[in-house]
């Protein structure tokens, strides 16, 4: 067949046919005006001159199997007729779209590959209607979707989109706690008696609830009412110490280390090694949530999934601010405080800011 013959579409014929071939190899003849309703087929005919004979049948995309092709051609056959009213077309569409969901999906795919936008619009609307208002389990069942997300993955981060912003805060704190826990485990493996010992004490104390308000803690840290605080249980103080160290380490890392080196040699040992051991990642600013953790009564547990919705955002802000203040103060006062503590430490005074110092002093 000459190229000329191939390229010419015979207008004199009353009904001309186009040859289409589906991916499975089967070839069929279709009325030209029906087939031309699909932009992809139209393009093949006009631009490439294909389809006018069996040997030069237009190869349809893989997503179009014979069953889908016949459905699509039914659609085209109806809609390519110009005289129809909108009402007629709508009514046809409503009836046409009634099929099981599986076929609906295949039809969407096939129509999309043939660039038949009106049919894609119709089927995607129908699929949306199928999805609408159903529970996830129902949707999975209808579409045969595997339920392969873990419960955790399902919860994060979307649970919060329908929950209170407080839940968001809690999840954030919760995530940090998990990180903390990992760090703890890492630190456990460190073969240093001193740090291990220190940490073990702290760990057991973490289980207990710290009921004190933030103000109390801060004043305690600043050594304001030292005497009254002595009466409190030692576990609280130790917790304080750990927190302080973490804070110092994370937020004022470099300054401490340099100052530590400047002042007492012992100090630098405690601080230097302490810093490294306590926080393998000194750059992290994970201290603020730790403080929050310790002050909220319910948050000290490490069990998964135990989230209590008791935090008041206003309180959280207040605490954030106070902790920042404290960190700043600590940062600026550090050299003087160090001198103070050193001079007091020898007297066995329990209240101080550097727990490790105290430890050192008493042993």
């Amino acid at each position: 067949m000459s190229e000329f013959d191939m390229a010419v579409i015979q207008p004199e014929m009353i009904k001309s046919y186009i040859w289409l071939q589906t991916a499975d190899g089967s070839i069929q003849q279709v009325e030209q005006e029906v087939a031309m309703f699909c932009p992809m087929i139209c393009h093949e005919i006009i631009q490439k001159g294909m389809g006018s004979s069996k040997t030069y049948a237009i190869s349809l995309p893989q997503r179009v199997n014979p069953c889908m092709l016949s459905l699509i051609l039914d659609y085209c056959r109806f809609h390519q007729v110009t005289g129809r009213s909108n009402k007629e077309r709508k009514s046809f569409d409503e009836k046409f779209i009634r099929m099981d969901t599986k076929r609906l999906c295949e039809l969407t795919s096939a129509a999309d590959s043939l660039q038949l936008k009106p049919l894609v619009d119709l089927t995607s609307r129908a699929l949306a209607r199928v999805i609408e208002g159903k529970t996830p389990e129902e949707i999975r069942e209808i579409f045969h979707l595997p339920d392969d997300l873990t419960e955790e993955e399902k919860l994060e981060p979307l649970k919060n989109s329908t929950d209170d912003p407080r839940i968001r805060l809690l999840n954030r704190l919760y995530a940090r706690k998990r990180k903390e826990l990992k760090e703890r485990e890492h630190l456990k493996e460190v073969d240093d008696n001193w740090t291990c010992h220190m940490f073990q004490n702290v760990e057991t104390e973490e289980e207990h609830v710290d009921d004190r308000s933030v103000e109390d803690l801060l004043s305690f840290i600043n050594g304001g009412n030292g005497d009254s605080k002595v009466l409190k249980t030692s576990k609280s103080k130790k917790k304080n110490r750990r927190r302080k160290e973490q804070q110092k380490n994370a937020s004022v890392d470099e300054s401490i280390e340099s100052q530590g080196k400047d002042s007492n040699g012992l100090n630098s040992v405690c601080n230097g090694t302490g810093v490294d051991k306590l926080h393998p990642h000194p750059g992290e600013t994970s201290t603020l949530p730790d403080v929050e953790d310790d002050t909220f009564p319910h948050k000290v547990e490490f069990d998964d999934g135990d989230i209590d919705d008791e935090i008041d955002p206003a309180l959280k802000e207040k605490i954030d601010r106070e902790v920042e203040d404290f960190a700043r103060r600590l940062n600026s006062d550090w050299p003087e405080r160090m001198q103070e503590i050193l001079s007091l430490g020898q007297e066995g005074r329990p209240v101080n800011e550097n727990g490790s110092l105290r430890r050192y002093a008493s042993t």
Binding site: C105, S109, S124, L127, F143, H144, P146, D148, S161, D164
Partner: protein
């Protein structure tokens, strides 16, 4: 095997987007827990709509509504991945909150094309400067907002459609906004304040719909304007009439509207057009005008004369709608000669549908109806509906009597 049965997850991304965009945002986001493949399919949705349907918040407490809405929008925006072409925020219980500024800033970085913001409660919300950075905007729709663009604002180069309702902007801001959006095709303005002189300079404008309080309106360089609806919500005072009495507002109005196809004159706008010395008909007839709707006070002679002038200048009118505005009688009952000397040259050769609503059956009204019936040879249907039952029987008797130029005309009387 599950894989073979699952026909939906492997559909192309744009098809999934199309399916999910037909669901509310809540339902779309919920698909993220269906399976691992579906986890982030919603995150590429290019259209985000946050309205009363997206989450049912049955609470009158503003704090709860606000917190919930802010949480949802923050989350969706943060988890979203890819360009956002359309964003609509319109929750009935939402006051203007500063979180909106943050969202608009985010959108300005996402090549936003269509932005719709409706603040249903509270005072005008001041639009942040980041809105004016959205250079890809094609459609902007604001309700209950206050606009004050920065001095560096050069306009929206791609904006085709602008819809401002219950907005406040200064006169120069308005003019700058219109003239700096060269591609503007549709302009809707309803209930605006802060400016009173409308000078519309928009070379591509095709659709213009305004309703509000203004002092004057003029078009410049609007040769494509085809559909116009104007409602002047305040009665034009008599003192104004004297100031402008030399130049006819009607003439000025139509100078730059050669292609006008559909015109709706609402509220008191006809009175505004009536100001000035009226010609018998316009110098250039509105040959493209095929739909005309007039809200008219038949007791005001000037308005009636203006309407007649306009009608005589619209030879190709196909549909006419007359909505009578019952007002107090004018101080001077002027006689109107409904027929020009050469009235026979004035016929509506294409007029098929006429509606006349809200009349009371006065002589002037009847003369008008009579004129229309005599000058419309292809009239198919005229529907008449009076304002009240009083005098309706007399009206019907007169209607029955009128001669009709069209042999196929139906005159339908509707009860008030």
């Amino acid at each position: 095997m599950e894989m073979d049965l699952d026909k939906i997850s492997n559909l192309p991304g744009h098809v999934i987007d199309q399916i999910l965009s037909q669901l509310s945002i809540k339902e779309a986001v919920k698909t993220s827990i269906l399976s691992s493949k579906w986890r982030f399919k919603w995150a590429t949705l290019p259209h985000l709509v946050f309205d009363n349907q997206c989450f049912p918040v049955s609470s009158q407490d503003q704090t709860i509504v606000k917190n919930k809405l802010v949480s949802i929008v923050d989350h969706v925006l943060l988890l979203h991945n890819g360009p956002i072409y359309k964003f609509k925020l319109s929750h009935r219980d939402l006051l203007g909150i500063t979180d909106i500024d943050r969202w608009i800033l985010h959108l300005s970085r996402c090549s936003i094309k269509e932005f719709v913001l409706e603040i249903w409660k509270g005072q005008r919300y001041k639009m942040p400067s980041s809105l004016f950075l959205c250079q890809n905007l094609v459609h902007l729709e604001l309700f209950n907002c206050f606009l004050k663009p920065p001095l560096t604002f050069k306009g929206f180069g791609s904006l085709k459609s602008l819809d401002l309702q219950h907005v406040t902007l200064a006169q120069d801001v308005f003019e700058r906004l219109i003239s700096s959006c060269p591609l503007l095709e549709r302009l809707t303005l309803m209930n605006f304040d802060g400016f009173a002189h409308l000078n519309i300079n928009a070379p591509n404008l095709q659709y213009f719909d305004i309703g509000g309080v203004f002092e004057d309106i003029s078009f410049e360089n609007t040769s494509h304007l085809a559909v116009v609806a104007i409602g002047l919500y305040v009665n034009v005072g008599d003192d104004q009439k004297q100031v402008y009495s030399n130049s006819s507002n009607l003439l000025k109005f139509f100078v730059h509207l050669p292609l006008i196809r559909r015109l709706e004159v609402q509220s008191y706008f006809l009175k505004y057009l009536a100001v000035g010395t009226l010609p018998g008909r316009l110098p250039i007839p509105c040959v493209n005008l095929n739909f005309l709707s007039l809200r008219i006070n038949f007791n005001d002679a000037e308005e009636v004369l203006t309407a007649l002038c306009l009608l005589r200048s619209s030879p190709n009118l196909q549909e006419l709608e007359i909505l009578a505005r019952p007002e107090e009688l004018a101080a001077v009952a002027k006689f109107i000669n409904f027929q020009e000397d050469d009235h026979s040259s004035f016929t509506f050769n294409q007029l098929q549908l006429v509606k006349i609503f809200g009349i009371s059956g006065t002589q002037r009204e009847l003369n008008f109806i009579n004129l229309v019936l005599l000058t419309s040879p292809v009239l198919e249907r005229m529907t008449v509906k009076p304002a009240s039952i009083d005098g309706s029987w007399e009206l019907v008797k007169e209607l029955l009597r009128f001669r009709r130029a069209s042999t196929i005309a139906e005159v339908i009387y509707l009860d008030p």
